[in-house]
């Protein structure tokens, strides 16, 4: 596992649920020597709503990394334009080349059983690399 698990890409939008997923990823990284890329997708409303959100995320990521004893070479924040599903899928490609995707389980959708409205289920259908869905 340690050999194949180089980079864990974990989705993070600042929510409590996403923080649970980030914590899970950082714990795994500290046990396996993997790196963590914390991924924030900036949607179409991203600029319209709140252009300063990325700075707050940076703080949260730093604080969490310290907690798990991971230094700046091991944990990076990656902010990318796009919907959460597409941005996470891009993490499997150059230049990130993640070997695992991690997301929180929130947004199982307002309507259970429907793919629509659930990033984790959409991702489960489209991902080309292993995906972990962390329950909150």
């Amino acid at each position: 596992m340690t050999e194949s698990l180089r980079t864990i890409a974990v989705g993070f939008d600042g929510s409590h649920d996403a923080e649970t997923a980030v914590r899970w990823s950082m714990k795994l990284a500290s046990e396996t020597n993997a790196n963590v890329v914390v991924v924030n997708a900036v949607g179409m409303l991203g600029r319209f709503d709140n252009p300063t959100v990325a700075f707050k995320l940076e703080d949260s990521v730093r604080r969490l990394a310290d907690e798990y004893g991971l230094d700046t070479t091991r944990v990076t924040l990656h902010v990318d334009d796009g919907d959460a599903c597409s941005v996470m899928m891009r993490m499997a490609e150059e230049p990130i080349n993640a070997s695992m995707l991690v997301v929180g389980s929130r947004g199982q959708g307002k309507h259970p059983g429907l793919l629509l409205g659930s990033t984790s289920l959409e991702l489960a259908e489209h991902t080309t690399i292993p995906l972990v869905i962390v329950p909150s």
């Binding site: 949607g43 179409m44 334009d81 919907d83 597409s86 307002k110 429907l114």
Partner: protein, 348 residues
């Protein structure tokens, strides 16, 4: 010249409080048309709900089922940007049907220019997924019908966002040439100059990314230098336009610096690619500042219909000329790699 438009259907039910993709947008676009005082030069065709057979040309049946069920269960947020309500499924079907109705009228009569005013917009919608405010890809649904009739369709997408859905749907279709100008970096993050089409359609995708602050002259340079030769070679029999107006300098969603006068020049250029009357239809996509939207619609249609509307002056002097040159280099390199890969495959 005659303007052919879809008749109004009630789209007020597709709304979420505070969301910029709102019913007032369609009203602003219609006010833009009113400013031209077209009277007898305006023909309205009846909208209808596109049928499943028409939709599955570009969307997966399973996705259509999910979307319908999601709406009928009360709707909600599909992703961080995109919402649907109880009424959205019906409204989206009417939006797709409106595009088809306008295109058919033009195709049959071989006369006029089409303008499809519908919500929600469509160019981000993928085969199997809603995103970026879009549920059904209206322009792709119309283009797919035309290619089925044997037409070669040029789609020009001048919305400020890259039309990732349209590009993906026709990625491997040699009968559709997709040309997009868009701000980059910006949502949805795709649309690099190196994206040139799939192995069955190498060169049939042309991406012209522009930096924040780019003005109309830079956009025209990109089209003239990179897209125009490809369009000439493709020799389209039909031209569809993803006419978003969020590249206007007043739009809150992005940072390009176009004026309504730039849209007029752009529309004139694009209309020139149509092989004759009744072979050009424009579909409303984005545009979130209501005044800019209204005036840009008037400028665009005024230029194509040669009506005496006077728009803002075109814009000049913004950044991006170097990026346009780089795009040309990137595209040429990507085309060479794609052709070499195709050749290798052929030899195997």
């Amino acid at each position: 010249m005659m303007l052919v438009m879809n008749g109004r259907y009630e789209d007020a039910g597709h709304e979420e409080y505070g969301h910029p993709e709102r019913p007032d947008r369609a009203i602003a676009a219609l006010q833009g048309v009113d400013q031209l005082h077209l009277e007898s030069d305006l023909r309205i065709v009846n909208p209808y709900a596109a049928t499943r057979a028409e939709l599955v040309r570009v969307h997966e049946g399973a996705y259509l089922d999910e979307l319908g069920a999601f709406c009928y269960a009360g709707g909600g947020d599909i992703d961080e940007d995109t919402y649907a309500t109880y009424d959205s499924w019906t409204i989206a079907q009417y939006a797709a049907g409106s595009g088809l109705a306008v295109v058919r009228e033009l195709h049959e009569k071989r006369d006029g220019v089409g303008f499809v005013v519908t919500r929600p917009p469509g160019h981000h919608a993928l085969r199997d997924r809603a995103m970026g405010f879009c549920l059904l890809n209206n322009i792709a649904i119309a283009a797919a019908e035309l290619t089925e009739l044997g037409e070669r369709v040029l789609i020009v997408d001048w919305d400020v966002h890259h039309g990732n859905g349209t590009q993906a749907i026709f990625w491997d279709d040699p009968n559709v040439l997709y040309v997009s100008t868009h701000q980059s970096p910006l949502f949805p993050g795709s649309g690099g100059a190196y994206e040139v089409g799939g192995s069955d359609a190498i060169g049939r995708t042309v991406n012209l990314p522009l930096p924040s602050g780019a003005t109309g002259d830079v956009l025209r340079q990109a089209i003239d230098e990179i897209a125009a030769p490809t369009i000439d070679e493709f020799n389209p029999t039909w031209v569809l336009v993803s006419a978003g107006f969020d590249a206007h300098r007043d739009d809150p969603m992005a940072d390009l610096a176009l004026t309504s006068g730039d849209f007029a020049l752009l529309a004139k250029t694009v209309a020139g690619y149509a092989p004759g009357p009744g072979r050009l239809a424009m579909f409303l996509e984005g545009g979130y500042d209501l005044e800019a939207l209204r005036d840009s619609v008037a400028a665009t249609l005024g230029a194509v219909l040669e009506s005496p509307y006077r728009p803002e002056a075109p814009s000049y002097g913004g950044p991006g000329t170097e990026i346009v040159s780089n795009s040309q280099v990137e595209r040429t390199a990507a085309l060479r790699i794609a052709h070499e890969a195709a050749l290798r495959e052929e030899q195997q």
